[in-house]
């Protein structure tokens, strides 16, 4: 069993065929935690080893995720297991209840190895905003892991688990997936319950996961998705497990938006030419599989980014109000810089006299962005786009320039504003750094995205390239733990 190559589906098959047991898999994962966690700063809390082995020994193999090790982004409330949200202000907070998704995963037999590092509260796309230090990229430890679900991505790539959960408010699952050669789902808003997951921007937060393959990803969604009586924004839409019979994409129309590439270049002058080439190749692969490539217009892409950075901080300023140190956690000066920045911006945008100019205008633009996608999906089945304008930057390169980091979210945030679904897929490498693409679909189109993704994955097989862990060395320049 090679844990770096092992998929969930293969593990379940291995259990069925009695080739190995959950204990073997959990032990291997724990070994990787011991080997790499300190260096890569992946997990903030690791569960007790004996307890984990005991749990693995008593697995009920009839369950759908029986004995499958998982790490949870630290925004997921876990009963009696520390939950920090990547923020030091609550580094001693131990919830007394499980998030709905955590409960579902437990009930389906998954084994929680620990809680993953992340940009504090989900604020960031590189993983560098964690109050506990940045997570390192699994493919090159001098580079960022991508965030905010940084630890969840790297833990999968480094064999500490077989899948990781994340949240995606503006790209936080797709980014670490793209930077670590993984499949990451940003589901339709309302597809997966948010109950028990520390809120960032409630009207955009979506709950997804990163896996090695499309098949694994679809399997996990079939467990986590569905109406939750504890989350009034979840929907009753049924979740079908993708059938993956499709080996070609004949008859499908895939849209490409000229605005995306043009604005990407404009917003980030350093838009990587090599990345552009990888993206072009990926598009050609889709065409080769039989898809028709069509131009679609998403005219409100540029205002979408600005709107995102008005609406999201507004909701953040509201959601972080409860961390006052009165009942748990530390006092408010313990908040990190990025959280403070967003709370200040959001408080300003919601203040009387400014509300109309900022928040209300933002809501109007949001409607326009939504309409962009609705119109586009009248003529195409899915939209193709890069995830990030460049491959994973070096740790520290952007951390002094928050605006530059915000601008790199240009391809991901419009999807969250629209509330539609997107699937991030591995699409190649630039040197040793992975590059991802995303397929965007209308609301509730996850099944379709998985089928397209599966055909593409079978053709390209990027997921087979594993990190060259021994080959990279940490930079001394930044002095991280």
């Amino acid at each position: 069993m090679d844990i770096f190559a092992l998929t969930i589906e293969q593990a379940l098959e291995g259990y069925r065929a009695k080739k190995f047991t959950a204990v073997d898999v959990v032990k291997t994962c724990l070994e990787n935690v011991r080997k790499y966690n300190k260096e890569y700063n992946v997990l903030l809390t690791v569960r007790d080893e004996d307890e984990l082995i005991k749990e693995a020994k008593s697995v009920d193999y009839s369950k759908p995720l029986a004995g499958i090790p998982v790490v949870l982004k630290d925004l997921f409330s876990t009963n009696l297991l520390r939950t920090t949200g990547g923020a030091k202000i609550i580094d001693t907070y131990v919830p007394r209840y499980d998030a709905t998704v955590v409960r579902k995963l437990k009930e389906s037999g998954a084994i929680i190895i620990g809680k993953a590092n992340e940009d504090a509260w989900g604020h960031g796309s590189s993983g560098e905003n964690s109050d506990f230090g940045p997570t390192r990229n699994a493919y090159n430890k001098n580079h960022v892991a991508g965030g905010s679900s940084s630890g969840s991505g790297v833990a999968v790539a480094l064999g500490m688990c077989l899948f990781g959960t994340g949240t995606d408010t503006g790209g936080s699952i797709r980014m670490p997936a793209a930077y670590n050669n993984l499949v990451g789902l940003k589901p339709t808003y309302g597809r997966v319950s948010r109950y028990g997951i520390l809120a960032m921007a409630s009207s955009l937060d979506t709950i997804g996961h990163v896996t090695k393959t499309v098949g694994d990803n679809a399997l996990v969604l079939s467990i986590t998705a569905g109406k939750d009586p504890l989350d009034a924004t979840t929907d009753t839409q049924p979740v079908a497990r993708a059938s993956f019979k499709r080996s070609d994409l004949k008859g499908l129309k895939i849209g490409v938006s000229p605005e995306y590439l043009a604005i990407g270049k404009q917003a980030t002058p350093g838009m990587d030419e090599k990345l552009e080439a990888v993206t072009e190749t990926a598009l050609k692969e889709l065409e080769k599989l039989g898809a028709t490539i069509v131009t679609v217009n998403l005219p409100n892409t540029q205002p979408a980014l600005a709107t995102y950075y008005v609406l999201v901080p507004s909701e953040i300023s509201s959601n972080l109000g409860r961390y006052d140190g009165v009942r748990f956690g530390h006092t408010r000066e313990t908040f990190g810089g990025e959280a403070k920045r967003r709370m200040m911006i959001g408080t300003y945008a919601l203040s009387s006299g400014y509300y109309d100019a900022y928040y209300k205008t933002g809501q109007k633009v949001r409607t326009l962005v939504r309409t962009d996608f609705t119109k586009a999906f009248e003529s195409v089945d899915a939209i193709f786009a890069p995830v990030s304008p460049y491959p994973a930057p070096k740790i520290g390169d952007f951390s002094q320039d928050p605006l530059a980091v915000y601008l790199s979210d240009i391809y991901t945030v419009p999807i969250n504003l629209a509330g539609v679904a997107a699937l991030g897929l591995p699409a190649g490498f630039i040197g040793d750094l992975p590059v991802g693409i995303q397929l965007i679909g209308p609301q509730w189109s996850e099944e379709r995205l998985y089928e397209i993704g599966f055909a593409y994955e079978q053709e390209t097989q990027w997921y087979k390239r594993k990190p060259n862990i021994e080959g990279s060395h940490p930079s001394e320049a930044h002095g991280y733990i």
Partner: protein
């Protein structure tokens, strides 16, 4: 000083008597419960917890709005109202801002601006050197009924709040009890010299009984004449028997309202609204009119018997045990609440001949010409005086209602 006219508006908060809280499954009845025994992640505002609105609370709010003649907003939503206080665990209260459930109603001559739904806060308890929070009340459904500044006297306020309380109790949606805090009144008062609405107002907090409402308003009318017209928030202090300043205008809150993203907006069809309307049943005024017509009762008797829905229902249940008038008399004068008690009174009813009654009343009238004149001049107390005199002469054998009817017939 008589040229000053008080301009008063009211905000009334009512805790709904639903089984569970507004946004979670915890019991809503918190009165007298051990602190922090009725809580969960939602009403404690724990990280990640989400609100799911209580359908019954929403329907009851609409029902109250309809009973107050309001229009139900076809589209309504919840909003977050932000302020920092230790009894508010999320840092915001889920309330309604620009699209309340109900608008534009009327109770008597008082226009009702809005009826909206929100959640109650926890309760602070201060002891020496320590302040404690009890979250049992956190998240209990709270309806707010806001009037226009239509009151011109304290008497009008009194009539309105009692009527509102009666309607709420009729609907069975709350005990509306000032002492238990399930009904809370926040008056705003200013003084006008020209009858127009002045450009300032004083909000009064912590007035937790009908008596304090009256006292606080009386105090304010005098104080504002004395000290001038300044926008303030003041609280009633029972110890000082006065209102004391809590907040000046400059310290006004900026609540940073925005739509609650955790709860989808609500839409109401005409059918849903008429379904809720059909659950309202007969309200006190309608019931009173019907009692007068159907049972031939006086305005006074009908008002007494319809004071509570329970009493009215009891009356209707037992009305056929005798003449409705006689039954009404026993219910009102003897405060009878069970059928057994009533039957006892009916069996041992003091008998008195109609002639004896007539003679006694005529004698009393002859002896009290001044009272008759007073009554004719509109003094209702004079009638009560005459009834009292007659009752004394009859040594309790007569009934006040019958006597007052005879007096009225004789002297009009």
């Amino acid at each position: 000083m008589d040229t000053f006219k008080p301009i008063i508006g009211l905000e009334v908060h009512v805790e709904l008597a639903t089984a569970s809280k507004m946004f979670c499954g915890c019991p809503a009845d918190h009165f007298g419960k051990e602190p922090n025994t009725q809580t969960c992640p939602v009403c404690l505002g724990l990280p990640g917890a989400l609100p799911v609105p209580n359908k019954k609370a929403v329907e009851w709010t609409i029902m109250l709005g309809l009973a107050l003649g309001c229009t139900v907003n076809e589209e309504s939503k919840f909003d977050r109202k932000h302020y920092f206080y230790p009894d508010l665990p999320k840092g915001y209260q889920i309330s309604q801002y620009d699209q309340p459930l109900c608008i534009d109603g009327k109770l008597g001559d008082i226009r009702i601006q809005r009826v909206h739904l929100e959640e109650d806060t926890g309760k602070l308890q201060h002891a020496v050197g320590v302040s404690l929070v009890d979250f049992n009340r956190s998240g209990v459904p709270l309806v707010e009924v806001v009037t226009e500044p239509d009151f011109r006297s304290i008497e009008e306020v009194d009539v309105y709040v009692k009527k509102l309380q009666q309607i709420i109790r009729y609907l069975g949606i709350s005990g509306a009890d000032m002492e238990k805090g399930t009904m809370r009144i926040e008056p705003s008062i200013s003084l006008s010299t020209d009858g127009k609405i002045p450009n300032y107002r004083v909000e009064l907090k912590n007035v937790n009984s009908f008596r304090f409402v009256r006292k606080a308003l009386e105090y304010e009318i005098a104080r504002q004449q004395r000290e001038g017209h300044i926008q303030q928030t003041r609280g009633w202090s029972e110890d000082k028997n006065a209102t004391v300043v809590q907040r000046e205008k400059e310290e006004a809150h900026d609540y940073r309202y925005f739509p609650e993203p955790d709860i989808p907006p609500m839409r109401w069809s005409g059918r849903q609204i008429s379904d809720i309307r059909s659950q309202i049943g007969e309200l006190p005024d309608e019931k009173k009119e019907r009692f007068m017509k159907k049972y031939g009762l006086s305005d006074y008797d009908a008002t007494q018997l319809t004071e509570t829905r329970q009493r009215a229902e009891f009356f209707e249940e037992v009305a056929k045990e005798g003449t409705p008038k006689a039954i009404a008399n026993i219910l009102i004068n003897k405060k009878v609440t069970t059928k057994e008690e009533l039957m006892k009174f009916l069996q041992n009813a003091p008998s008195i001949s109609a002639d004896e009654l007539q003679e006694t009343v005529e004698r009393i009238l002859k002896e009290n010409p001044k009272a008759i004149e007073d009554y004719r001049n509109g003094k209702e107390q004079a009638l009560m005086f005459l009834v009292g005199q007659a009752l004394r002469q009859l040594k309790g054998k007569g009934d006040a209602q019958g006597i007052s009817a005879i007096i009225r017939r004789l002297i009009v």
